[in-house]
Symmetry: C2
Subunit: 333 residues, 2 copies
DNA sequence: TTGTACGCGTTATCAA
DNA sequence: TTGATAACGCGTACAA
């Protein structure tokens, strides 16, 4: 490894001058500056980020806590995070959240992260307070199920979104509407379910417990759950179903196809998120558009504001859009 | 921030003892150990990783260079990387590769990364040699188009895979086979195209230049490219098309559907990678299975071997599988 | 405009 | 079994 000392020696200046040059201080004579730059070039010197972090107490790294790297919704958000972070010269360090290993986060992130972006995880209060104590900002895209004063978030207004979706289905003539939820109740999907129920009530529709399907959050488990449900009794107690995530909705579409149930003929299906695939399924999928990239940008902007200006973050809400596509039509019969 | 000194003072021992306890050295009296552990607990101490890295010259971070975080093939690989890295207590630091900013990688990764995993990028020799000089291992999942002695890789045997695929199509009766390639020639997709051409030749089939469609690597651009091609002349010069990636193949499926071309009736379509969606498209997609998770594991194992045991990495090859699904059938007429 | 010297929080060496 | 203390590479106050 080439260090600042090597450069200083090679350029025949002191270490301080090398630092000045590297950090673009304007107090170095142009001639010396060139000498130093040449030495840096010749030796292939790069400042050691760990050492710099130690001194400056800034790591230029932002932690990102995933639920599942294989979920294109979450990676879509991080695409926005990554783009914006790059503009701030920040690196992203990714971790998959595993509740049983939550305590490890404290050591993993300590001294290597200026702030942490969550994806709707409800961390244990103890963990949150640890980071709060040491002034590491936590900010969440997707509102966590369990609120905590230190963790603010940016999300769309799921109640309003669900209301629009339910009203859409109701206006088509659907009165019995099912829901496919994520069986993990502290998952960000759960927020959508809660708001769906409220929206149903506000729309004067009754949600029946046997119209609730619980699945894992992903495609295959939704496929399995729906297939089994249809095989158990092909006569479903609802004419439309809303899924807490698009991947689940795609699994439902697939299950219906394989079980001989026609979508949207026999059943209307809607999802949440508007991932890219939803406009290329057969039929294309009605869904709620979550502006992934924009929210990613906003999250990075917010957390950078916290880190560098000590801004107090607040909960904020972003606009959504109801994407009406082929998978929801008026019920037959 | 709570430091080791705070813990030492609080526990009434020297800083060295705290280190011993933290690092599980077995030379500490059980009684003192408990005292220290209690102090750590009470103060909420966590060792500062930056400081530790500085001293030990190990960062416990592995850099991962993406091409596109929004590509589920790549995130599928990193799912494997992440799982295995976790077992080694390594964190992953993600960067999207942008050729015009390649020089920044040197500073971004220096002193914060023990090794770097590439995803088939052909880095500039200058960049590679920089990391080589400082002993930072580079290892690639997916063989880069341009070989370099310092960058070994793990990949499937694309020639063999393409041969199996071409033979499959040929045995169905296809003799005119098109290819949708990625217009970026240093992209990992390009390797697949080269081997496809070799496979065609080996199978005694002629590949005609006008059967080559160039698109961006992703769904939408493939959709656009294929749509335009069909609109320009619905009579295609091939009865089957192989796409360099599954996302492109899905775009092609979608374009055919929207342009009134029946798959597989009018055109057989095949992809590469076997991403999850390919078994849920209409029709389901014939593709080459790339074992993402396993290769991710292998990549981490290999780079850990390099870092900790100084193992010399070699190119290795993993098994693939030809997934024959609904999108390829014998041509009509 | 440049150089010296200290401290950031660790680990590790060596004495005690 | 423990305690001093010297690095690790960097930024910067202060002196020159």
């Amino acid at each position: 490894m080439v260090t600042r000392d090597d450069v200083a020696r090679h350029a025949g200046v002191s270490v301080a001058v090398v630092s000045y040059v590297v950090n673009n201080k304007n107090n170095v004579k142009e001639e010396t500056r060139q000498k130093v730059l040449r030495a840096i070039e010749e030796l292939g010197y790069n400042p050691n980020m760990a050492a710099r972090s130690l001194k400056t107490r800034k790591t230029n790294q932002i932690g990102v806590l995933f639920n599942n790297l294989g979920n294109s919704f979450e990676t879509g958000i991080s695409l926005g995070l990554e783009q914006r972070a790059r503009q701030y010269d920040q690196s992203l360090i990714f971790q998959t959240y595993i509740r049983s290993e939550e305590h490890k986060l404290k050591s993993i992130f300590s001294g290597r992260t200026d702030g942490i972006i969550l994806m709707g995880q409800s961390l244990k209060p103890e963990t949150i307070e640890h980071f709060a104590k040491f002034g590491v900002p936590l900010y969440s895209v997707l509102k966590p199920v369990q609120d905590h004063a230190y963790v603010r978030s940016i999300d769309i207004d799921w109640y309003d979104a669900m209301l629009k979706l339910v009203e859409h289905l109701k206006s088509l003539g659907h009165h019995k509407i099912g829901f496919m939820a994520n069986a993990m109740h502290d998952h960000y999907h759960h927020v959508r379910f809660l708001h769906f129920r409220q929206a149903m009530e506000a729309s004067g529709l009754e949600f029946e417990e046997h119209s609730l399907l619980q699945a894992g959050g992903y495609l295959e488990s939704a496929y399995d759950r729906m297939s089994n449900r249809i095989k158990a009794n092909p006569k479903l107690p609802f004419t439309a179903i809303v899924c807490a995530g698009d991947l689940m909705a795609i699994g439902v579409l697939s299950a219906c196809k394989d079980c001989g149930l026609s979508v949207p003929g026999d059943l209307s299906v809607a999802g949440c998120e508007n991932i890219l695939m939803t406009s290329h399924t057969t039929p294309t999928l009605t869904t709620i558009h979550y502006p992934r990239k924009e929210i990613g940008y906003m999250a990075v902007d917010t957390i950078m504001g916290q880190i560098h200006n000590g801004d107090e973050p607040t909960d904020s809400t972003f606009g959504f859009e109801l994407m009406i596509r082929q998978s929801t039509v008026k019920p037959t019969g």
